[in-house]
Amino acid sequence: MNKDVEQSPAAERSDAAEKLFSCMCSGNCQSRCRLLVHVRDGRAVKTSMAPFPDERYNRVCLRGLSHVQRIYDPNRLKYPLKRVGARGEGKFERISWDEAIDTIVTRFKHYQQVYGRQSVAFSAVSGSEAYLNGAYSSFRLANAMHATQTEHSLDMSDTHGLGRVLGTGNTWNQSNDRADLVNAKTILIWAANITDSHPHDWRFVVEAQQKGARIVVIDPRFTTCAAKADQWISIRPGSDPALALSMAEVIISEKLYDEAYLLKHTVAPFLVREDTQRFLRQSDLTGIVPEKKSPDPYMVWDSAANEARILDLVEKPALEGAFDVSGIKVTTAFSLLKKTMAAYTPDHGGRLCDVAPDTIRNLARLYATNKPASIYNGFIQYDNGVQTGHAWGILAALTANIGKPGASVGHIGRVGHDINFAKLFFPEGRPNSKLIPWVYLKEVLKSGEFRGQPHPIKALYIYASNLVCNATNQNEIVNTIFPAMDFIVVADMVETDTTRYADIVLPVCHWFEMIDIVQGPFHPYTAISEQALEPAYESKSNMDIYRMIAKGLGLGEHFDYTDEEFIQMLLDNDTARAEGLAWERLKEEKVIQTLPTCWVNWQDNKFPTRSGRMEFYLEDPKPRLNCGVAIDQSREHLPVFAPPIEAWPDNPLYKKYPLVYHTVRQRWRLHSQWFGTPWLRELDPEPFASINSKDARQRGIEEGDIVEVFNDRGHVVLKAKLSEAQRPGMITVPKGWQRDQFIAGSYQELTHDYVNTTSYNQCFYDVLCEVRRYSDAKAG
């Protein structure tokens, strides 16, 4: 080699023959990669990795490099369609945009007049996370119409559990920047398959490992990151909260906790009233309830004075103990925690998790002593996710593994602090649209009520989402929810499992055919996504579609803005101005840094909870969303192990369906996006059910056999792949394939739509099934 080109400069530039545009890959992997889109003769011919100012955040993956085939996908919807056959039959006829919009406007007007303004519902998930034309694009119209919106009910159970401890609520803003992982000495990768789902974070883990950090992967399956880790702990599917609680027991009983941190930054010393389960406050003793905004100080136990005193007045409150304060029986929150955790000895936790007790002891010791330690967790897909998240918060609080470089817990989501969503979303200055969790929609349709008020819904407008493919219990969606709708519109880029059920199908632009603005969270930048291409065929941007609908509904005044004017509404706030985040500058520079690199959350140990501390004890646990359904608070002050709602050996159903069913995310698709991309299908041509050889042998299944995976809700038929990576007793089927890519059925027929009224979350892995050779199934 005579050239040394180790440093790849961003040397590619636009010229007369090839124009380059700065665009953002805006999917819900959330990596938000910056891409250069290369355009020759008006056509995209290549996407390439575009640099961020700090090289550590440069990133692209196999999907980002396949956009050319998504833009020119043979499944691309070319023009508006109306249904001519039965719903789901897939028979459509081309119509004009005028006819499509007229039909939608006439129907929407009719339903709103007859059944009330809430009778039209918009439903999006995460088809694009760009701020203007992505999955939030209907918010302005929905609020102008006073329409209903469905909330996605995804990835929110552990988020809620940990979010209640941190005070972060319905956001994912919990962890440090992922680049900060290099500062950790211990990293627990828990229920996350980073190498498939967030490959760009892997380099930070490796860097930490090369500096001597210990990497432990907690996952039932042997994933690629399990193979690369220093230790892999295969737990029984759905036993995650038991492992976390048992670790907490070890940390408490072996006194490995950080007492100073607990006293200063958590509710550990707060006194919990035995009668009300709430924290003891000054007003409980004085009888004088303070004015609304005045503080009502928390009381703690002053051992020196042998009395309860106001928190701020006590230098070192008691960590443990039960006391009588003027006749009120109280116990410190830490003592309650200790008592609750005492049940989860490593012996008991080990039985629940199917791991050796010493493995739990050593894991707890490692996390508590080899600091700083970070928990890089995925989303818990079982009904007990809330408890898992809550327990993770307890682990971080006990060990002070939070608020420092290398010490972090939870999901990443520090975005939007400099975005004025309200100005764009609420044209009348206030939210007018009711939000119904997707998992609760069936209940609303059945009862006709929401929060005790009549709430009929007659029309569903689905966009940025392939619901039929991605939401749980497919047969219930198509056989119960859809038939309850008089009218269904689906706006998408390509034909999907969902467009088949539409009455009207609208063709939407690819991301690079419209302008937008995109932020992290997996990098600290805000970036423009330029319009590199003219919309293909007759496709339109989401906002252009809403402009037409709004005009027809007489709401045109709210949409008399260009996309750039809408984006400027988002940037109209003091934080953005202080950061220099301005649209003109973004157009010029393409990328603006809006967060520090390697940022650390909670460095000041001030948490957005009521007390400002980590509230591992919840005095007033609330459901994630208010659907007017009360929860049993007594079960949620502290986490206890609740088995998964279905996927657990004690479930009688287990005798009939002894395999836990995981529908896993793989690098070949993003949810269902890229399902038909030819380059990726060359590498990953068809779905496989992965089974451990032991389970396969018992059922006479061999490599490549066509098998039926089934339960009482439905089935999927596909080839079997024998893989020791699967823990015996479980089966995995990759997610995102469309119905016609399976031999029969769909992977999503098997999942259930049980409603947990605390988390309102779809729990994809909390599912039991059985598998048999398809030839046997057909033979009956």
């Binding site: 080699m1 005579n2 050239k3 040394d4 080109v5 180790e6 790849s8 400069p9 040397a11 590619e12 023959a17 090839e18 020759r40 003769d41 056509r43 011919v45 290549k46 996407t47 390439s48 990795m49 990133r59 692209v60 993956c61 196999l62 490099l65 396949s66 050319v68 085939q69 020119y72 190498t195 498939d196 490959p199 760009h200 892997w202 380099r203 490796v206 042997f222 690629t224 990151c225 193979a227 690369k228 892999w232 295969s234 690098r667 030819p678 380059w679 060359e682 590498l683 992965s690 451990n692 032991k694 490599e703 792949k721 024998l722 893989s723 020791e724 990576a725 699967q726 823990r727 015996p728």
Partner: protein, 201 residues
């Protein structure tokens, strides 16, 4: 080129970058990702829970003593001064002697038919030469990029930062430094072709 297989996560980003950048026809891959483990892709070796899996990317090894060059009757396969082993489609007669001579499996591809594509216009780098029916094609380290001071596609995009490209004769280069610091090997050295692709292990 140097590939750190301890870092490689088998994500196939390199394979797709190559496919796009070099506008490879349907079914042709110059850079493949092999599973070193069980019988099929992404399956480990061993019995649960005692398992192992590694990934190995395989492209033309750009040998210093290339068997393919010696075997080529027309000079279509030749070695550039900087070490890149090239393939000239215009004078390749499709005899496939190079494929026979090469000790590495499937790093060279033969276009038996007219190359077919998923799209009806060329994608990727504009400098890429159109592949021809009846000729052999293979990785050329993205020579057109190297000549402009850019990294080969597969190296530039690697999310795991497992791929490196540089001058091994320059003792200060990153590849030289890494080779000094970490245990490494090359594939099938007993064939004495002196491959230029090193693996950190």
């Amino acid at each position: 080129m140097l590939v750190d297989i301890t870092r490689c996560i088998g994500c196939h980003t390199c394979a797709v970058a190559c496919k796009q950048g070099n506008n490879l026809p349907k079914g042709i891959s110059w850079n493949r990702v092999l599973t070193h483990g069980g019988a099929t892709m992404d399956t480990p070796h061993g019995v649960f829970p005692n398992l192992e899996i590694q990934y190995l990317t395989l492209n033309c090894q750009h040998c210093e003593n290339p068997a393919c060059v010696k075997a080529c009757p027309t000079g279509a396969t030749y070695r550039r001064e900087d070490g890149i082993v090239m393939q000239n489609y215009d004078i390749c007669v499709g005899c496939r002697m190079c494929i026979m001579a090469c000790p590495y499996h499937h790093v060279r591809s033969f276009n038996a038919d007219q190359p077919a594509y998923h799209l009806d216009f060329p994608v990727g780098d504009r400098q890429v030469k159109a592949q021809q029916k009846g000729t052999v094609s293979k990785c050329h380290f993205c020579h057109h990029r190297v000549d402009e001071g850019l990294l080969p596609h597969c190296v530039e995009v690697c999310p795991a930062k497992a791929r490196f490209f540089g001058d091994i004769e320059d003792s200060g280069s990153a590849v030289s430094r890494l080779l000094r610091a970490q245990k490494n090997t090359r594939l099938l050295v007993h064939h004495q072709t002196e491959p230029s692709v090193y693996l950190l292990i």
